[in-house]
């Protein structure tokens, strides 16, 4: 292999998707586009100006729809469809336009717009946090879109203008032309992705998954779940202690809770019903350690502890 020679990369792109001199490629410069103050507005004409205004108007309309969606439509897919453009598209696209890159970047303006949208959100959130020590994330993309839309409109207003874009031709109205137009391509790609995702989701859900081992849990519930260690009660007081029992993939029948003190059972076993059991415990004097056993047929499956003291926790710790 003659690796020392710089290869000739291209490629048939030039005569397929782009006529010679077509400015669609970032490499191509328009006649008269000398840049900025040196070269005026880069060949703008009235038609371009009108298209720019229409594009801005479209974004303004999308923003209005998003505002309406955010405040009217309940959270979910419906609202997402309406506001998503203000999160992933409008701020970045307006920034790209503000910078004048929407033509020069060509196809790359799409991912660049997405990233710049995220950039706008991050910068705005940091500014909001610096000012108010709090960020309200919900309306953030609406503000970001509004600010960047205003910035893009400012550029238009002050006459810097937008660069000329490749215009669609009458060929775009043929079926093949529609498919090859940006909107048609985007719609076709979206349809392709959606169809693929649908098939994949169906297959994924139909395939057998991980078999999971069952479990049997025995725990305090209600206020006793958050008990602060040794609890203090008065002698003779009756405590009603609630338990939860959850059996997943295990036999939940015939379960009872048995209370014990110092290893000796006190009172009858309390059956578990609907995963719940409430056990009454009479408080003895001093520090008592109660044990509650979840049993089936006399065999203990799980146990829990409870320390009750009539003289404060120190009586137990000592």
């Amino acid at each position: 292999v003659n690796a020392s020679a710089e290869p000739d990369y291209d490629d048939y792109d030039y005569d397929y998707d782009r006529a010679p001199g077509d400015p669609a490629d970032p490499l191509a410069e328009r006649p008269g586009d000398k840049g900025g103050r040196e070269g005026g507005d880069g060949g703008r004409d009235e038609a371009d100006s009108g298209r720019d205004l229409r594009e801005l108007a479209r974004y303004g309309l999308l923003l209005a729809i998003a505002v309406l969606g955010y405040f009217v439509v309940p959270p979910g897919v419906g609202r997402a469809v309406l506001v998503l453009s203000t999160i992933v598209w409008i701020p970045g696209r307006c920034l790209v336009q503000r910078l004048g890159l929407h033509d020069a970047a060509g196809i790359w303006s799409v991912p660049l717009s997405v990233l710049l949208s995220f950039t706008a959100l991050i910068i705005l959130a940091l500014l909001e946090y610096a000012a108010f020590r709090h960020v309200d994330f919900g309306p953030l993309p609406l503000w970001a879109s509004l600010v960047t839309l205003a910035a893009a409109a400012c550029r238009r207003w002050h006459g810097a203008g937008f660069a000329r874009r490749r215009t669609s031709t009458s060929a775009a109205f043929t079926p093949r032309g529609i498919l090859k137009s940006p909107l048609g391509t985007g719609a076709a790609l979206f349809a392709g992705v959606a169809a693929s995702a649908g098939i994949l989701a169906g297959v994924y859900n139909a395939l057998p998954g991980q078999p999971q081992a069952g479990y049997l849990q025995f725990a305090y519930t209600g206020p006793y779940a958050a008990l602060p260690g040794v609890i203090t009660a008065s002698a003779g007081q009756q405590l009603a202690i609630p338990f939860s029992v959850t059996a997943v993939g295990e036999d939940a029948s015939g379960l009872t809770v048995v209370r014990q003190i110092a290893g000796a059972a006190i009172g009858p076993a309390v059956p578990v019903a609907n995963g719940q059991a409430v056990v009454d415990v009479p408080v003895a004097g001093g520090c008592s350690r109660y044990t509650f056993a979840l049993e089936r047929g006399g065999g203990a499956l799980r146990t829990l502890d409870l320390y009750v003291s009539t003289g404060g926790s120190a009586a137990c710790q000592s």
């Binding site: 003659n2 690796a3 020392s4 020679a5 397929y16 840049g35 959130a125 790609l189 392709g192 710790q317």
Partner: protein, 664 residues
């Protein structure tokens, strides 16, 4: 089937004159593409879907199969290669039209997101994911940036990803996880497109750009690590696109265009800093390499008037990045150095000891369950990359013998030279994989250095494919097949080297694995805590149970260290030291989580808690002695998990609150 296989319309070559330097033969080939219809574009989606379905099948086999099966690996790679091979062929082929090339690259980008998406489509699973997800939910709930993070402290200092995800979640009403998936798929596609855009900017050809992008996609982070919900997944995209924008400043022909690209690059470089520390640092490293390349090639370029002007604008991008990094790392993220330095210094120190023979290095693929071919390919991958890089260096060194017809600054811009030199850092990082401290850092760096490596080797691919040394059709086909096979070997090897099987595939329970330790039993325990004890609870748990409690109950697990050895609670059957009790009490730790399997299993990831933990084994007595103390009340029990409630008041600890209460 290549373009050459499609018959040209009769006489088309003769009818087409050379236009814009394009020969009639090439135009005829392009015409063949046109007459072939759009099926090559449309085929991308069925192929990608079929590949994705096979990936899903492989996961199902892995989830339901036995431990020693390897068939899920084979099915997985068949599915992946079903998409990868045609993408390589169509993406790198000379005759592919731009639109077809882009559609296949897009389909490939979306497809490479699928393996990670299917791994955990509805909940965070990887350790870093849980940390970032919790950070996002906390951010969305409170509106406060820079909140502390229970699992990875440094995450709090870089809120860029969390801002974007929380915004999407709050604005749409989606869950934080689904919002994260939307962000991730967008940035994953943008990452590959960015690499293609960079390649096109550097080489002036979309085909070369596609080669750059596809080569970049072979790196070990692309398919799994940079698709997880972590700040690097977003940071690396900004890293790539900032470089792409800088690359376009070299390609642009007017001052205004350069300025526009430079401003875009400056905005992205400004924003990469609050997203991810390593992305900022690697971006800065690239700028250094490009600046050095600019200085070294200044004489040659100075003669070309088209390269004049707006040097300050490019310089400005670097200045913006440097200033933002310095300010952010000083003011908002002062712990960054302390977080990163152990990986780097520890790795280098260990490497030094390895070199001097005073210590043994890591054994690669020891006790692994990945198939032998993956292991072989993992070792072959750097060798192939090395050979390609060597060829790239030869191209560079002999560039004056074979001058390119294009202007010198276009063919060999400082961007290309600097990026190529930066790509060689990949080889410098390889020895670190043999060290315990540096291995993780080395792997992380490959997602960044591979971009430079891609730029270095991009010219070699068309040279090999278009001009093989043997001129017969069969030999050409063999060379092209070998090129595709080499790409597949690199892909398989790098993915295998990047993550172990537990992260890549679902499967049976494995103690001590971040991803395989999550069971319904663990989640039920965490659910019980979340349901019955309101508020964020401070817990002491091993790494794997702690992860489940963070995910499900928003608990705050102790981060053990030499100064706070909370792991001592598990490693002996004596009561803990007074210092530890005092520390636990004053920090308001309220629950102790015990997994009985600690006494019977060694953790798959090598540690129960954190580096520096005792090396002795945990016994059942060590775990059971809490049944005997009144300061640890057993409040929850399932088959494997016990939850104890702490009550340190009896120790006279300075808890700040009276933990001994009255009757509930």
């Amino acid at each position: 089937m290549s373009a050459a296989d499609i018959p040209a319309p009769s006489g088309i070559s003769a009818q087409l004159p050379a236009v814009g330097g394009i020969s009639a033969e090439r135009r005829a080939a392009a015409a063949r593409w046109r007459t072939a219809g759009p099926w090559r574009e449309l085929a991308a989606w069925p192929v990608a879907t079929a590949g994705a379905v096979l990936v899903a099948v492989s996961y199902s086999i892995a989830a339901t199969g036995t431990d020693n099966q390897e068939s899920h690996f084979a099915v997985f790679w068949i599915g992946v290669l079903m998409v990868t091979v045609p993408t390589f062929v169509i993406g790198a082929a000379r005759s592919t039209p731009a639109r077809t090339r882009m559609i296949w690259v897009l389909a490939y980008a979306v497809f490479t997101f699928v393996p990670k998406l299917l791994r955990n489509p509805s909940v965070p699973l990887y350790y870093d994911e849980v940390a970032h997800w919790r950070q996002t939910t906390g951010l969305a709930a409170s509106g406060h940036l820079f909140q502390s993070n229970a699992l990875i402290g440094i995450v709090a200092d870089f809120p860029g990803l969390h801002i974007v995800t929380a915004t999407l979640a709050d604005a749409t009403g989606f869950t934080a996880w689904h919002s994260a998936e939307i962000v991730l798929v967008l940035v994953h596609v943008a990452a590959l497109f960015g690499a293609v855009a960079l390649g096109q900017a550097v080489f002036g050809s979309l085909r070369a750009g596609a080669v750059t992008g596809l080569f970049y996609s072979l790196n070990s982070s692309f398919m799994y690590f940079d698709t997880e919900f972590g700040y690097e997944s977003l940071g690396v995209v900004f890293f790539i696109w900032c470089l792409a924008c800088v690359g376009w400043t070299y390609r642009a022909r007017t001052r205004r265009r350069r300025l526009e690209w430079a401003i875009a690059a400056a905005i992205l470089s400004f924003c990469v800093v609050p997203i991810h520390h390593l992305s900022s640092l690697f971006l800065f490293a690239v700028f250094l390499f490009v600046a050095i390349a600019s200085l070294l090639t200044y004489r040659g370029r100075a003669r070309d008037p088209r390269d004049h002007g707006l040097v300050w604008a490019r310089l400005g991008v670097g200045v913006v990045l440097a200033a933002t990094t310095a300010i952010w790392f000083t003011v908002a993220a002062p712990h960054t150095y302390a977080y990163l330095s152990p990986y780097f210094n520890g790795g280098l120190g260990e490497l030094g000891r390895l070199w001097s023979g005073t210590s043994n290095g890591r054994s690669l693929y020891s006790a692994t369950s990945v198939p032998g071919y993956e292991q072989v390919f993992a070792f072959a991958s750097p060798i192939i990359a090395g050979l390609l890089a060597l060829a790239g260096l030869i191209v560079f060194l002999r560039r004056h013998r074979h001058p390119d017809p294009r202007p010198e600054f276009t063919a060999w811009s400082p961007m290309r030279i600097g990026l190529s030199a930066y790509g060689l850092l990949y080889f410098a990082s390889l020895p670190l994989i043999l060290t315990s401290s540096g291995a993780e850092g080395a792997r992380r760096s490959w997602g960044f250095t591979y971009l430079g490596l891609a730029v270095l080797v991009t010219p070699i691919v068309p040279a090999v494919v278009d001009h093989p040394p043997w001129r017969t059709a069969r030999a050409r086909l063999a060379v092209r097949t070998a090129a595709v096979c080499a790409g597949c070997i690199m892909l398989i090897g790098n993915v295998s080297a990047g993550l172990d099987e537990d992260y890549r595939f679902p499967g049976p329970y494995v103690y001590g694995s971040d991803t395989r330790s999550v069971t319904p039993e663990l989640l039920a325990a965490a659910d019980w805590l979340a349901r019955n004890v309101p508020g964020r609870q401070m817990i002491v748990a091993d790494r794997y149970a702690g992860l489940g409690f963070v995910r499900q109950a928003d608990a705050w697990p102790a981060t053990p260290s030499g100064g706070f050895p909370s792991y001592d609670l598990y490693f002996n059957d004596a009561p803990p030291s007074a210092d530890l009790i005092d520390e636990l009490a004053s920090s308001h730790y309220t629950y102790l989580i015990v997994d009985d399997r600690m006494a019977h299993n060694l953790p798959a990831q090598g540690e129960y808690f954190a580096p520096g933990e005792p090396t002795s084994h945990i016994t059942q007595n060590d775990l059971d002695h809490y049944l005997n103390y009144p300061w640890t009340t057993l409040v929850y029990r399932s088959h494997n998990y016990s939850v104890y409630r702490f009550d340190f008041s009896g120790f006279g600890a300075n808890t700040g609150v009276n933990t001994s209460g009255s009757t509930p």
